[in-house]
């Protein structure tokens, strides 16, 4: 901890450094490049949408829009080879002479493939491949196929190597994301590089509609400095859809299925090249009754208070959320490459069926209402080819209201239990007047990011990212008494990062070194218990970290990566100030720290028509210290403390294969890690596996594609996937007789479905899918059963 004057000095230094950097880079000179644009047509001069246009020998590529148009800026001058391909057409290559600051216009006609022998292999690299070829320790999930199917984003994430998702129910339920063993706030979530809480897309990553996301980037333990954020175990960045070309384009999807599930998502975008104006917006509505059947134990006077097993539908577990966002902007102006303003709102109400371990009577009237609204400003400007600056800022207000005001208790059949009970609320009898508590978070964030390329091999990146969170609260059922939820706390966080990037001439070696500095200041008046005792004060944290990522490509078939970060995770609002429920704030928490190391090997086959395969092996180490641990203070209240050290050593492997000229594909992955307690004092159980989190899990999926079953534009996909999660203990593994220990059983689940897809002017699809095909009883958390077999149908249209 430092004195406040030190922090001001720190901030002044960072700002001074930024302006110095700005001054230097404005003197930089421009590297010549040009632009290619045009359209892709078939032999009948009809546009071919979603064709791939790739710059051969590089990782650059774009797709055509619904009218077959494309634009590829910043192409190096000189003769370049362009590869153009699309399903059901014969790919071609073109030589194009690129001149400095000029636009080369192309009109390309593709010939239809007349037989299976001429079937297309996509030659352009997707953004997934391009990103995974960078030095970053990253897994990328393209959602172009997944968004046609019915699993939610949590399920999609759970199929990614290294990622474990634990769910407390169906759609809208509590979700815990674990990345190589680190979990919860140790992993940061972003939407378009903006923290999730500023995105207005959802309050929980699993609830975001997949149809609004193009790609998921999972950063394993080493988080690029450009995110301007702290994170201990990595980050997940969701990349949303963006407008394609000048024409109106959009997407709409509707999903209906078991347990009263309805999911609607829409997207519209339009830009005008002449004026530079663009507008895009999306909206979503999600609803699920979550009335799936579970097995419970019940007892009453008729059973002589002996427990009897019963299968009942959940009844107070409805989830509903809706929201919208609109972005207005200008691009390609002298004074701005892009400037945009985004408005968004989100509302969610979620009923709560039971306590976290589903014991005792269920809740029939507990509900959580949440609202989030705000705006984001984005400004981007390049000065020549060597310098660019991006400024993002945003304000958000989120309020979460917990209501527990029922005067009736219910049993698992949803029937009121008639008892003489002059207590309001179901969560705790100790709170006699119920709960109507609201927590308000006013969030402000900004980020200045500047990139400076010395030349094509050396570049720098600087990011400055201050964030302020102010939390207040109230409990509406208090009339004259003291409101212990009347928190007033402010958490100011400032993260800076500087990255040096190097790329050798042959593009075979890439290295990025970065340093980050962290500053956090908390000011608070918070309740420290149930007795209306307030704690007032301030605390400062000043820390730093660094890291390096390197990639060496031996050839197109074999590459390796090595990455490391000394990472820092600052205390979050709930940890510092409490949640107004059972968690008492601890403003004096220190940051969590970790040495994160990854070594990745990547092998893939030569590009072939008949089959392709790839294999990625990643070994990792996470050596953490000062982990923030929730320590119960009594039966009702807990507080966070820095008490635990733990080390995770593990490996994840992913393999893909395509056979039969890309019609049959396989994708499987497996993750195992040994995440063990290394604390030698205080907490005990040194050497034990960190409890209550999956440590061995695997996924496998397959897809068979029938091409042109009814016309040259359509496809049928038959797919299935399975997931296995090994059993794990809820508490320390060496504590207690195994025969009586609470454990989460292993699970093996299967999904299967079929998609009919037509790609003409409008790409449309219809999917029917069954999840948890074998109707397994599945648990992610102890005692909380997840949904059984479920049927879904989804209709998607994109133009």
């Amino acid at each position: 901890m430092i004195k406040e004057n030190s922090s001001c000095k720190h901030a002044r230094e960072a700002i001074s450094m930024a302006f110095l950097f700005l001054t230097i880079v404005t003197l930089a000179q421009k590297q010549p490049s040009g632009t290619i644009e045009g359209n892709v047509l078939d032999q009948q001069n009809q546009p071919i949408p979603f064709a791939t246009v790739a710059l051969k020998g590089t990782t650059r590529g774009v797709f055509t829009d619904a009218k077959g148009k494309f634009k590829m800026p910043d192409v190096p001058i000189g003769t370049q080879t362009i590869q153009i391909s699309s399903s059901a057409f014969i790919p071609i290559e073109l030589q194009v002479n690129i001149k400095s600051n000029q636009t080369e216009k192309l009109s390309v006609k593709l010939e239809e493939a007349v037989s299976e022998l001429n079937e297309v292999t996509v030659v352009g690299e997707s953004e997934q491949v391009r990103l995974e070829k960078t030095a970053q320790a990253i897994s990328v999930v393209e959602l172009s196929t997944a968004k046609l199917k019915t699993p939610d984003l949590g399920e999609i994430l759970a199929r990614t190597e290294g990622v474990a998702i634990q769910r407390a129910g169906g759609l809208g339920s509590g979700t815990r994301l674990s990345l190589n063993g680190l979990t919860d706030d140790q992993v940061r979530i972003f939407v378009d590089a903006i923290p999730l809480e500023f995105s207005g897309r959802a309050l929980n990553i699993a609830n975001i509609s997949p149809n609004l996301i193009d790609r998921i980037e999972v950063y394993k333990g080493v988080v690029p400095a450009r995110f301007g954020s702290d994170a201990l175990g990595g980050a997940v960045n969701l990349v949303t859809s963006t407008p394609q070309g000048n024409d109106l384009n959009g997407m709409a999807s509707y999903q209906i299925g078991s347990f009263g599930t309805h999911r609607i998502a829409t997207y519209l975008g339009k830009s005008d090249e002449k004026t530079g104006f663009f507008v895009k917006g999306s909206g979503f509505y999600d609803f699920a009754r979550n009335d799936y059947e579970i097995q419970v134990q019940f007892a009453n006077a008729s059973t002589n208070f002996q427990q009897v097993e019963a299968t009942v539908p959940r009844f107070n577990d409805r989830f509903r959320q809706y929201g919208s966002n609109v972005t207005l902007g200008l691009q390609d102006k002298k004074w701005a490459d892009e400037i945009s303003l985004e408005f968004y709102f989100l509302e969610e109400d979620r009923q709560v069926q039971s306590n976290p371990v589903q014991t005792g009577l269920p809740y029939g009237g507990v509900e959580v209402f949440s609202k989030s609204h705000g705006l984001n400003l984005r400004y981007k400007k390049s000065l020549g080819d060597r310098f660019s600056a991006l400024v993002i800022g945003g304000f958000n207000r989120t309020q979460v209201n917990l209501q527990d005001l029922s005067t009736t208790l219910f049993n698992w059949f949803g029937e009121p239990v008639t008892i003489n009970r002059e207590i309001i609320g179901e969560i705790s009898r100790e709170i006699r007047n119920g709960i109507d508590r609201t927590i308000f978070d006013d969030n402000f964030f900004s980020r200045l990011m500047m990139e400076w390329s010395l030349n094509s091999r050396h570049s720098f990146e600087l990011v400055i990212a201050p964030t302020v969170v102010n939390r207040t609260g109230e409990n509406a059922v208090i009339e004259n008494g003291v409101d212990i939820f009347d928190t007033d706390a402010t958490l100011k966080t400032w993260v800076n990062g500087l990255t040096y990037k190097f790329l050798n001439k042959e593009n075979s070696f890439e290295n990025q070194f970065f340093v980050k500095s962290y500053f956090q200041k908390s000011e608070f008046t918070v309740p420290v218990g149930v007795r209306s005792v307030s704690l007032t004060g301030a605390d400062n944290i000043n820390d730093w970290g660094f890291g390096n990522v390197a990639r060496f490509t031996f050839n197109e078939q074999f590459s390796t990566k090595l990455s490391y970060e000394w990472s820092v995770r600052l205390p979050r609002t709930n940890e510092a100030f409490g949640d107004g429920q059972g968690i008492i704030g601890n403003p004096e928490l220190e940051p969590e720290r970790s040495h994160n190391l990854n070594l990745e090997l990547f092998l893939r086959s030569r590009e072939a028509q008949r089959y392709n395969w790839s294999l990625k092996l990643n070994g990792f180490v996470r050596a953490t210290d000062d982990l923030i641990f929730l320590i119960p203070q009594n039966d009702f209240f807990s507080t966070h403390e820095n008490v635990l050290s733990a080390t995770s050593v593990g490996a994840e492997i992913r393999g893909t294969a395509t056979l039969l000229k890309n019609r049959l594909s396989f994708d499987w992955n497996s993750t195992y890690f040994s995440f063990r307690n290394t604390s030698n004092e205080g907490i005990g159980f040194e050497g034990d596996r960190i409890p209550n989190r999956p440590y061995f899990f695997a996924n496998a999926s397959t897809n068979y594609r029938f091409t042109s079953p009814f016309s040259k534009y359509d496809e049928i996909h038959v797919f299935g996937n399975t997931r296995f999660v090994e059993s794990f203990f809820r508490t320390w593994e060496s504590a207690g007789n195994e025969n009586f220990k609470a454990s989460i059983p292993s699970q093996t689940t299967f999904n299967a479905g079929v998609t009919y897809k037509m790609s003409n002017k409008i790409q449309s699809s219809l999917t029917a899918e069954v999840q948890n095909l074998t109707n397994e009883m599945v648990f992610d958390f102890f005692g909380v059963q997840r949904p059984g077999r479920a049927f879904f149908v989804k209709l998607t249209g994109q133009f």
Binding site: G360, R421, V530, F629, A735
Partner: protein, 429 residues
């Protein structure tokens, strides 16, 4: 062959004992013992294979996701804890109640589970449940009181329900309802005030007695009365016995070996001390007192300990700890207790204290109690074979189990493993 030996007395007279019939008699006896049932209570434990006496120790382990309770049964207090063999019986919010030959675990959500202990090998196994959630009985209702092997009680004064059950077969015998004691002004405006409750139920003859933890701890404006819940197990009658000599009370009462109960009043004052930035207890609106409640269910009107009269330094009583003979050990906060570096006086989950005194209950004279000063705090956690056991909590490191061998004589008998809390010691049989 006549196998025999001769028994003679001091006078030299004797008689012949034939060996073959004797051997047959011995075999018959052994056969009879071997075939006898386990429930023959009159049989010598040595002959039945039963362990003569057993103790259970309750452990609590906390990790980032759970707060778990474990039990283990031993013939005697062990020298060390093998945490790998203990039995997980409950999670956070549980109450563990050893009874004769078993442990009843109340999960706080309406479920009582009986964990029985095998008398021959001390194996622990689940032996029945009772689920009374639909009676609305949930939350921290306090201790289960066992009157006999076939009669136990669980009491919930918040809704006025007493559940009488047979722990031997885990069967509800009777549900007794009464009007809970909720005087106006006790649950005024702060819905988050959880402390109006009865936690520590004690069997005293045929009475089950429990103190009310009362008062508004923000400004000590609660009604000036002490409340004792008294339930007569013979008549099923509930009484609330009040005394207006006390401002606010708490549930940290103790029972002396002779059945008298000692009831302190000043926890609220202590909290006010914590809230008071100057920690000047002389500003407290009430003084600390200790009243005595008699085994017959009445307040002893002739007994009151005014702490201020005994020693102004003991103005703020934290709790009486235990009574040995005529002496009672009390822990207290002295005036002007400084804030600790973490920003407040740590009440601690065990009610730790660093300052205690011994008061003679006849002369009311006090003397410092320093025998456990080397620990950060201490608390009685049970009895076994007539000895009292105290959980002692050093400032750092694991908890220590201390046996009381005299009011000033203590022996460390067990150090728990790191991260393992010692919560309860109780005689199983």
């Amino acid at each position: 062959m006549d196998l025999h030996f001769t028994l003679t007395n001091r006078k030299g007279t004797g008689f012949k004992v034939k060996l073959v019939p004797m051997i047959m008699l011995a075999f018959s006896t052994m056969l009879f013992i071997g075939c006898s049932t386990d429930d023959d209570d009159d049989m010598d434990p040595d002959l039945t294979g039963e362990i003569e006496s057993a103790v259970t120790i309750v452990y609590r382990i906390i990790d980032s996701n759970s707060d778990t309770w474990f039990i283990e049964a031993y013939e005697d207090i062990p020298n060390e804890v093998d945490i790998a063999t203990v039995t997980e019986v409950g999670q956070r919010g549980s109450t563990v109640n050893p009874i004769d030959g078993a442990v009843l675990v109340w999960n706080g959500e309406g479920l009582i589970t009986k964990w029985a202990v095998d008398r021959t090998n001390l194996d622990i196994f689940q032996d029945g449940t009772i689920d009374i959630a639909e009676l609305g009985v949930e939350g921290d209702i306090g201790t289960i009181v066992s009157k006999s092997t076939t009669e136990a009680y669980l009491m919930d004064n918040k809704i006025g329900v007493i559940v009488k059950f047979n722990p031997e077969v885990m069967e509800v015998l009777e549900v007794i309802t009464y009007t809970p004691y909720n005087p106006v002004g006790w649950f005024p405006n702060d819905p988050n005030e959880p402390f109006v409750n009865t936690f520590q139920h004690r069997l005293n003859g045929d009475l089950i007695i429990a103190p009310f933890l009362t008062g508004d701890f923000n400004d000590a404006t609660a009604p000036y009365e002490a409340i004792m819940f008294v339930f007569n197990t013979l008549t099923n009658e509930v009484q609330f016995v009040t005394d207006d000599r006390i401002a606010t009370g708490n549930d940290r009462f103790i029972t002396a070996p002779n059945g008298n109960m000692y009831y302190p009043n000043s926890w609220a004052a202590g909290l006010l001390t914590e809230n008071n930035p100057n920690h000047d207890v002389s500003q407290m609106p009430s003084t600390s007192t200790i009243l005595r409640f008699l085994p017959n269910g009445t307040w002893d009107q002739d007994f009151i300990l005014e702490m201020n009269d005994i020693d102004p330094g003991m103005l703020t009583i934290w709790r009486p700890q235990f009574v040995v003979g005529n002496e009672m050990v009390v822990s207290y906060w002295p005036p002007n207790t400084p804030l600790d570096p973490e920003g407040g006086i740590s009440l601690g989950i065990f009610g730790q204290t660093r300052v205690a005194a011994t008061i003679n209950l006849e002369t009311f004279e006090s003397r410092p109690f320093t025998a456990l000063d080397q620990y950060n705090g201490f608390n009685i956690i049970g009895e076994f074979d007539g000895k009292t056991y105290i959980g002692a909590f050093p400032a750092e490191g694991p908890g220590i189990l201390v046996r009381q061998d005299g009011i000033d004589i203590y022996t460390e008998v067990l150090t728990s493993a790191e991260g393992v809390q010692l919560r309860q010691v109780a005689q199983l049989w």
